[in-house]
């Protein structure tokens, strides 16, 4: 580590946390399950300052920031208000209820499975079961059109988002080694110890001369307010019962409640209401316990993520918006992106037991940026992943193994280590969410998501597979398996400079209706090779600060 890196790491990890606590006291407050009992309740007829639809990374952060600034906020969430002790289990199949299991239709030449893979439900959203990797985007991600001649430029720069990244890394908090890629920066918590899987990646990378780092993961490694530290039980993707891994349920909802926000769970929003002329939104229609209600609000923020946000807008038609709210330029539901996320596993003579410790351990961004020597643009990152038995079985079955072959291979589970790549797939207009003919139990058309890869996407998948195979082989793997899959979701209501370019502007305000905001991952114009959670939170933080006039100095 360079002297500068060491000094910055020391400064970051030793700095007092008073400003974090003043901005967001969630970690110091009583547990959210206790706070919920005395939560403020608004009547539907109260015109609140803001109603937020969805309590995940974007919605919860936005709610907390506005409530903290004194706004009256109600956040409606379609799923339950989780109690980690009662509702979550250390079990793969027993965690099926954490996903959006209502029907969705997937099509295109490369259809993307949803559910456990990329959907969320309940207070905390999909961060409840995300692995925990919390990297920033690189500065180059904000000007892909200018830099690489593909995709789009963002209407804001990395420098404009940087302070928000830093604030949120301290609030989650993020643990990891000094980060040498993109905009180099330290993390507030030290790197976690690594398990067999992480050792394999570090070893393989070291032998090949590939730089790799431990982190960055949003899991407390040491004291942080009242939050316990990690106990390395390995079930991060099933919801963290320990409360060591960050999700908005424990990182932002407690402070939001303490500042008078109401988190109204089990409330499925079915329509955004506008005035007769469609000039302003007036509230939202929602179903709760089989009954329909309308919550009045001076402004609305939609944060249902890349599938449900477009679906809600497309379902909210009116005379002014016959093709869906904010859809004057046929942009709603378009440019939805997933990251190509092939997973390569290697078999080792000794036991690896990859299920021990959090799956997110080690990552490298050596291949993140465009390499002029390569036939493709943009790049990929490589990270540790550790499939539990059911996911591992699907991994093995995907190779065409079944019957005795499948059962026999599965008995070798403890000897395999697994790496996953995140490839930057490019935004394409035809990768889009539309309404299907099928309806849900409320009678609303469900979302259909069509997805096809372009040539660059396929080249990245192939290149990342080769790198992962090399790393595993260098670490001593004797046999390899790769499964092609996808991870994460962003886009669908992208931000732009003009109404022709995006659904919302850089402040996440819709061009079509001035008191309607979209504060979730659907606004990302490109995605980089970074896991999106931190960026979604940073964008929501920035939008709330701009709106409330409380921008950080």
């Amino acid at each position: 580590m360079s002297g500068r890196a060491a000094a910055r790491t020391l400064w970051e990890s030793a700095r007092p946390q008073g400003d974090v606590r003043r901005r967001n006291a969630s970690a110091w407050l009583p547990h959210v399950t206790e706070l919920k009992r005395d939560m403020r309740r608004f009547a539907d007829s109260d015109e609140v300052d803001m109603v937020v639809v969805g309590c995940g990374a974007g919605g919860a952060t936005f709610t907390q920031r506005l409530a903290h600034a004194g706004w009256k906020v109600v956040c409606l969430e379609a799923g339950p208000f989780w109690d980690p002790q009662k509702d979550w289990v250390s079990d793969e199949w027993g965690s099926h209820h954490l996903y959006w299991n209502e029907p969705r239709v997937v099509g295109g030449s490369h259809p993307v499975p949803m559910g456990s893979n990329n959907s969320g439900r309940g207070v905390g959203g999909s961060m409840v079961h995300f692995a925990g990797f919390a990297p920033r985007l690189h500065p180059s991600d904000f000007r892909v059109r200018s830099g690489d001649g593909v995709a789009a430029d963002w209407p804001l720069s990395y420098a404009q988002l940087r302070p928000y990244y830093q604030r949120l890394e301290r609030e989650l908090p993020v643990a990891g080694q000094y980060w040498p890629w993109g905009d180099p920066h330290p993390y507030p918590h030290p790197p976690h110890p690594v398990s067999g899987n992480g050792e394999v990646m570090l070893d393989g990378c070291a032998k090949l001369g590939i730089e790799a780092r431990v982190g960055p993961v949003a899991i407390a490694n040491g004291r942080f307010g009242n939050r316990p530290h990690c106990i390395y039980r390995g079930f991060c993707l099933q919801g963290c019962k320990v409360d060591a891994k960050a999700s908005p349920l424990i990182t932002h909802v407690p402070d939001a409640i303490a500042h008078g926000a109401e988190i109204r769970a089990d409330a499925m929003v079915t329509r955004i209401e506008t005035d007769r002329e469609g000039r302003r939104v007036t509230g939202v229609r929602y179903v709760r316990g089989g009954r329909e209600y309308v919550q009045r609000a001076a402004a609305v923020a939609v944060a249902g993520y890349s599938i449900e946000t477009p679906r809600l807008l497309l379902n909210s038609t009116s005379r002014r918006f016959p093709d869906g709210l904010c859809n004057d330029h046929d942009l709603v539901g378009r440019y939805v992106m997933v990251q190509g996320a092939p997973q390569t596993a290697g078999r080792f003579a000794e036991e690896i037991r990859m299920y021990k410790a959090p799956p997110p351990e080690v990552s490298t961004e050596e291949f993140y940026e465009t390499d002029p020597a390569k036939p493709y643009v943009r790049g990929f990152s490589v990270q540790t992943v550790s499939p539990l038995p059911i996911m591992w079985a699907e991994h093995v079955a995907e190779q065409g193994h079944w019957g005795p072959d499948l059962r026999k291979r599965m008995t070798d589970y403890t000897h395999w280590a697994t790496l996953g790549a995140l490839c930057e797939f490019l935004p394409q207009a035809e990768n889009r969410v539309t309404l299907a003919e099928e309806t849900d139990r409320h009678g609303l058309p469900v979302a259909r998501f069509d997805h096809s890869q372009c040539a660059n996407d396929g080249q990245l998948m192939e290149a990342s597979r080769k790198v992962m195979e090399e790393i595993l082989r260098a670490a001593g793997a004797t046999e390899l398996m790769t499964v092609e899959r996808y991870a994460h979701l962003v886009g669908g209501c992208r931000m732009g400079r003009t109404a022709e370019e995006g659904v919302v502007d850089a402040d996440l305000r819709s061009f079509a209706v001035p008191n309607l905001f979209i504060t979730d991952g659907s606004v990302l114009p490109t995605q980089g090779s970074a896991n999106p959670a931190l960026t979604i939170m940073a964008l929501a933080d920035r939008a709330a600060c701009r709106l409330a006039g409380k921008e950080p100095r």
Binding site: Y232, K241, V242, G400, T411, E438
Partner: protein
């Protein structure tokens, strides 16, 4: 050797360690071992049941010597209550309908090839060849559905049910739930005292 007893459940498999799990997790996992409510099946017709059992025998290579792991009843329960995975391929109907149609297809294929004997009545080798044929069709059409997507539907449901069971965990060396205990010995080749060498 006396020291070994300090580790609850050593040698007794995942279920033997249930005492170290939190009560909610223990409740969810141990329920998979207990008796099932009647009626045992609500979704599959008796004929579909016979075809599905035979299919699962092949996909999961089940033998009479295996520890009892309920698979068909778990799938039936999911299809009866609509507990799907939150998506289905656009070129396949919803999971329940796709199961019905694909089981009927298997039975029909068997009858055409094996002189009117259905899938469950066909011999082991005959069924095996038939399933290989379906798998080899890949994205080709099979009874109005892409064969590859049907195959994924079968293996997904089968694996989700089978590898959720503690007996299956013992078979593959997975330790099972680890809260509130957690893990202390991380690293290549390292084992907790209660973990058996594989």
């Amino acid at each position: 050797m006396g020291r070994m007893r300090a580790w609850p459940g050593k040698g007794a498999g995942a279920v033997g360690r249930a005492g170290t799990w939190d009560p909610v997790t223990a409740g969810v996992v141990l329920a998979r071992l207990g008796p099932r409510h009647e009626p045992a099946l609500r979704f599959f017709t008796p004929r579909e049941e016979a075809v599905a059992e035979a299919l699962l025998d092949h996909v999961l290579a089940r033998s009479p010597d295996d520890p009892p792991v309920p698979v068909l009843t778990v799938i039936d329960d999911r299809l009866a209550t609509g507990e799907y995975d939150g998506w289905h391929f656009a070129d396949l109907p919803q999971d329940a309908e796709a199961w019905r149609r694909s089981l009927a297809g298997l039975d029909e294929d068997a009858r055409l090839r094996h002189d009117g004997r259905g899938f469950p009545e066909s011999g082991y080798g005959e069924r095996d060849r038939l399933l290989r044929h379906v798998l080899q069709l890949g994205s080709g059409d099979w009874y109005g559905m892409p064969a590859g997507h049907v195959w994924k539907l079968w293996t997904r449901y089968a694996c989700e049910a089978y590898y959720a069971h503690p007996h299956a965990w013992d078979e593959i060396g997975f330790g099972g739930p680890a809260y509130p205990r957690g893990y202390l010995r991380l690293g290549r080749g390292l084992r907790e005292p209660w973990e058996e060498p594989r």
